[in-house]
């Protein structure tokens, strides 16, 4: 039957653009292109200064070929140990505080007032960059690793609680419902119905945060919050680029090791 009929006219079909209105689409596109061009035009690049700076930059890079681990090894190893301690302690404190906040910030677990309170805490933690928090804590508690630990713990809460809460909101409800139907208590329900579903994510995020906290410990040290950052800052102040290079190489190595180890662990806990 179909074979006998003549070939029908071809009907067109094209994909749907995100913005359906043709005029609006073009107006927005052109406006964006103009703004981008204007914005690039306002960047003042002093080519002479850049040319001169290249030399200094090169001296810095050249120091990497000759890093000096030895001269200041005592300072480096002390700073490093302090940084690692800060990292572990602040990550542990951060996780311990993040878990209850994440439970409160998951819409499927918490009543509305608790939800808003916990989301509020997360927002506050996320809206301040580590450096700003570190400056505040250094002003409050003085120079040293204590301010650094507080800073990193505070930053961990915003990161971990938010992402963990989102994972809790994405759980399979039926598994949790089945545990509730057995007559277990709320805590047992969390332990059997929720925890197994979010555990891989919690472990993965914790390892990732450990890694971030180590890198951040180097940064907050520059504003006086202790750790390897303080040692690095001193090295720069003394123009000891070879020592600074040694410190940077150690930081890179530790971050790489952490990255590699966390990759292995995360693959195991899936």
């Amino acid at each position: 039957m179909a074979a006998a009929s003549p070939i029908p006219a071809l009907r067109p079909w094209t994909g749907r653009p995100i913005i359906a209105d043709r005029r609006l689409r073009w107006t927005l596109g052109i406006a964006f292109a103009l703004y981008l061009a204007a914005a690039i035009g306002t960047i003042e690049a002093d080519w002479v200064r850049i040319w001169e700076g290249l030399d200094r930059g090169w001296a810095f890079v050249a120091a990497f070929s000759n890093p000096d681990f030895v001269t200041r090894w005592r300072d480096i190893s002390e700073g490093l140990l302090e940084s690692l301690t800060m990292t572990v302690v602040s990550t542990a404190i951060g996780i311990a505080i993040s878990i209850p906040i994440a439970l409160g910030a998951a819409r499927n677990l918490a009543p509305l007032p608790v939800y808003y309170l916990c989301r509020g805490i997360i927002t506050i933690s996320r809206s301040f960059q580590e450096i700003i928090v570190a400056i505040l804590f250094v002003a409050m508690f003085g120079f040293g690793p204590f301010a650094g630990v507080l800073t990193l713990s505070f930053a961990t809460i915003g990161f971990l609680a938010k992402l963990l809460a989102e994972d809790i909101e994405d759980i399979d409800r039926s598994q949790a419902e089945a545990v509730r139907a057995t007559g277990g208590s709320w805590m047992q329900w969390l332990n059997y119905g929720i925890q197994p579903q979010v555990m891989p994510r919690l472990i993965g995020l914790s390892l990732y945060r450990l890694d971030i906290n180590f890198r951040e410990s180097a940064v907050v040290g520059i504003v006086g919050a202790g750790g390897i950052g303080a040692t690095l800052n001193t090295a720069f102040d003394r123009y000891e680029f070879d020592t600074a290079a040694a410190i940077l190489i150690i930081i890179i190595a530790i971050v790489m090791i952490a990255e590699y180890a966390s990759g292995i662990i995360r693959a195991r806990v899936q």
Binding site: D172, S174, A178, G183, S185, Y192
Partner: protein, 274 residues
């Protein structure tokens, strides 16, 4: 044993899921709840153990009004009602043993369950139930390593270890192939007979319901429109429940399927034993 009086559920959206349902289930009776999607079958069994809060009406289990209990009383009442789910609802990342033992959560303290230190009697019981459902060698496997039929057997063991008086079964076969569906239905049927358990089974497959239960309740738009034996499901009754359709063919097909089914002898043996 279980009495529902004027059970009504209106969701926040305004949908009336259950409309004054009255139902009495005697001890040991296995009952199938049929009806089109959205008729309120799932809502009905969830109102019994209050995973869904009923808006109006009473649920009475052995003289205790469940719909009035506080949270502690409700938890104790839930221990007496085992639940079996459509997509098995096993905790996927826990082992088979942990899933089965989670049925005892209502009986053990928090730290006991946290450290997985269940009473030896419960553990022995879990092994026995796994043997009964044919999964004794799987106790240390993770739940997500099992096939659909195996998972549903674990789900059944989890419900039974609660030592319930009533099983609430929500579409136990909806995710299973026809053969496994029959095996699971037969297993539920046998276990109810062995333990004198009552069961309410939500089910889509009318032929399967007719084959395995002694009483059928039809639900349409939250109202009970049929309550009687499986044989009473005439085309007129099915039209009343599901709406206009050529039921003669469905019924005939159901009958043929039953005759062709190699397991029919088991059913007769089981029917004789009851």
């Amino acid at each position: 044993m279980l009495v529902l009086e004027g059970l009504t559920k209106r969701y926040k959206t305004g949908d009336l899921a259950l409309d004054h349902v009255d139902l009495e289930v005697p001890k040991g009776q296995v009952l199938a709840l049929i009806g089109p999607s959205g008729a309120g079958k799932s809502t009905l069994i969830r109102c019994i153990n209050r995973l869904v809060e009923p808006t109006e009406g009473k649920v009475v289990l052995n003289g205790e009004t469940i719909s009035r209990l506080g949270s502690g009383g409700l938890r104790r009442a839930r221990r007496r009602m085992g639940m079996i789910f459509q997509e098995y609802a096993l905790v996927e990342r826990l082992s088979v043993m942990e899933n089965v033992l989670s049925g005892r959560l209502g009986y053990v303290g928090f730290w006991q369950s946290w450290f997985r230190r269940f009473p030896p009697k419960d553990i022995e019981n879990a092994y026995r139930l796994l043997e009964r459902v044919g999964l004794e060698q799987f106790y240390d496997k993770r739940a997500d390593e099992l096939s659909g039929g195996q998972r549903q057997r674990v789900g059944i063991a989890r419900a039974l270890i609660q030592d319930p008086e009533l099983l609430l079964v929500d579409e136990p076969t909806a995710s299973l192939d026809p053969k496994t569906s029959r095996q699971i239905m037969r297993l539920i049927r046998e276990l109810c007979a062995e333990r004198g358990l009552a069961a309410i089974i939500n089910i889509h497959d009318v032929a399967l319901a007719q084959q395995f239960v002694e009483r059928i309740v039809g639900l349409r738009q939250g109202k009970m429109v049929y309550d009687g034996p499986p044989d009473g499901l005439t085309p007129e009754v099915l039209t009343e429940i599901y709406g206009e359709e050529d039921w003669q063919a469905t019924r005939k097909k159901g009958g043929e399927e039953r005759a062709a089914d190699a397991i029919v002898e088991d059913d007769e043996r089981l029917a004789g034993a009851l």
